[in-house]
């Protein structure tokens, strides 16, 4: 059974239809990517899944349970969360407090402490700066913080919206390494990216979104080899 299943989703902004009848699924243990250009509807899809915007039609299932209509904070409790586009860390809180907000739904003190250790081991920069106000971090550090904060909720399904956006090539590589690491520790990943090359390379499967519709689907390898994809997204 799919961990996440999106069925015939339509989303409107006023009279404009941003998402047109899309269906896709993410199975447990997979890395799945939605690729597409700016304005294709990737972020809208992600926000609909988290209940931040309400679809006009269609269903979203998590672990077989219908989740559209459930408030976002309850969806997080079910075991999924999102690293939002643009990181959206809490710039007035310290690095430590941001990570603590990630663990907001948890009450297992010991487990939280252990996860702090894991995160600091993964991101030594965050430990060095744990008492610093998060707004003063560099863009790359903020992305690490956003990812660390999301993993603090111990999600079964982690969604990342354009995690490589605006980062230097070196940091982009690091972000993809971390995504692979999250996957290795047992997290199912749904990734939204414009960087088709890197994301297809780590994906089990991918869907291509264009103007609110899914136009192509396949395994990461198939799509990397596809002529259409090469032309449209891989610059060649």
């Amino acid at each position: 059974m799919a961990l996440l299943e999106v069925k015939n989703l339509d989303v409107h902004y006023g009279v404009i239809q941003a998402i047109k009848n899309i269906s896709f699924e993410v199975n447990e243990g997979e890395i799945v990517t939605l690729i597409g250009a700016n304005g294709a509807g990737k972020t809208t899809t992600m926000q609909s899944i988290m209940g931040l915007i309400h679809p006009s039609h269609g269903e979203i299932y998590y672990n077989g349970q219908k989740i559209n209509g459930i408030p976002s904070h309850k969806i997080v409790k079910l075991g999924m969360t999102q690293v939002p586009e643009g990181r959206r860390i809490f710039s007035e809180l310290t690095v430590y407090e941001n990570l603590l907000m990630g663990a907001y739904t948890r009450n297992d003190k010991d487990g939280i402490e252990k996860d702090f250790k894991d995160i600091y081991a993964l991101f030594p920069r965050l430990e060095e700066r744990k008492n610093q106000i998060a707004g003063t971090l560099s863009g790359g550090e903020q992305q690490m913080l956003a990812m660390g904060r999301a993993i603090m909720s111990k999600p079964k399904l982690l969604m990342l919206d354009e995690p490589s956006m605006g980062l230097s090539p070196l940091l982009v590589d690091q972000v993809f390494e971390i995504i692979k690491h999250f996957h290795e520790i047992g997290t199912t990943i749904l990734l939204v990216e414009q960087n088709a090359n890197k994301s297809l390379a780590i994906s089990d499967r991918a869907y291509v979104l264009e103007n609110g519709k899914i136009v192509l689907t396949g395994t990461g390898k198939e799509l990397l080899a596809s002529e259409e994809i090469k032309k449209a997204y891989l610059g060649g």
């Binding site: 988290m50 969360t81 939002p84 959206r88 603590l100 907000m101």
Partner: protein, 287 residues
């Protein structure tokens, strides 16, 4: 000596304004709305202490807080919550409507004659200065409230969630924070502070009518704006600024008739020079 008196009066008036301003600023920061009915919560608290005072002063204070918090919760649930996501103008007009509703209800149930209490706290003599005990209690209580609130926001899970919601509601939801619950907590704290301020104001002016909360409410709102609306330390600073202006004007006979005018003129100057207030931050609009 006059300087000492002015400082003490400034702290007392400023502390009262700060407690009210905290309600405005927290609700603005977290629920993103101007709660113009906040001043009328002061009136509700004032009436409650007047009615319960004959039973016992302590019961009166507790009843004020409980009743104001109840009114705050009912107003939030019934009037503001259904408008979450509505246009800011609709929410603003609703808040003005709630304000009128509270005033009219007070008039229906308690009549339009002001109710009064007289209670003399007495004075204490420190050196050559005689200070009213009420003034001292006001200062101590408002300082305690501000310290407690600062610690609450900084060191509790719910407090940090309040900062998170005020900064980015969507990201806060992604942490699993129930935004409606946090807004409710904000209204509870704001109403409790307004109740305490109302109690002190009643003891000071000794009677309460249906528009009792209007003037302190609007001044505390000005204080919140001067300090930077949305900022908790800002509301404290803004309250003290207005408190000291009022205390200084009270000491100078030539200025005292113009106290209100001077206070609002300062508001206008601050808005011209630093529109975000002393401690307010300019937020970048996200696109």
């Amino acid at each position: 000596m006059e300087i000492i008196m002015t400082i003490i009066n400034g702290l007392s008036i400023g502390g009262t304004y700060a407690m009210i301003a905290l309600g405005y600023t927290m609700v603005y920061g977290i629920a993103k709305m101007l709660n113009f009915a906040h001043g009328d919560i002061i009136m509700v608290g004032g009436y409650t202490i007047v009615l319960f005072f004959p039973i016992s002063p302590i019961i009166g204070v507790i009843a004020s807080v409980i009743f104001c918090v109840t009114v705050g919760i009912v107003v939030e649930k019934s009037a503001y919550k259904p408008l979450r996501g509505a246009s800011p103008l609709a929410v603003l007009i609703t808040a003005i409507g709630v304000s009128k509703l509270l005033q009219s209800s007070a008039q229906i149930f308690l009549g339009s004659e002001p109710r009064g209490i007289t209670f003399n706290f007495g004075n204490i003599q420190i050196g050559s200065v005689s200070i009213s005990v009420l003034t001292l209690i006001t200062i101590l209580c408002s300082v305690a409230v501000m310290v407690a609130l600062t610690l609450f926001v900084k060191y509790t899970k719910t407090g940090r969630a309040m900062i998170a919601v005020s900064e980015d509601r969507g990201a806060a939801q992604l942490m699993g924070i129930n935004v409606n619950f946090i807004i409710m907590i904000t209204f509870i704290i704001g109403s409790a502070l307004a109740a305490i301020a109302g109690v002190f104001l009643v003891f000071k002016v000794q009677d309460v009518g249906t528009t009792f909360g209007a003037m302190p409410g609007i001044k505390a709102f000005a204080a919140a704006v001067i300090g930077g609306i949305g900022s908790i330390p800002g509301a404290m600073v803004g309250g003290l600024v207005l408190g000291f202006i009022e205390a200084i004007c009270g000491m100078v006979p030539a200025l005292s008739p113009y106290t209100d005018a001077i206070e609002f003129a300062i508001l206008i100057i601050v808005l011209l020079v630093k529109p975000t207030g002393f401690l307010g931050k300019k937020r970048r609009e996200k696109v």
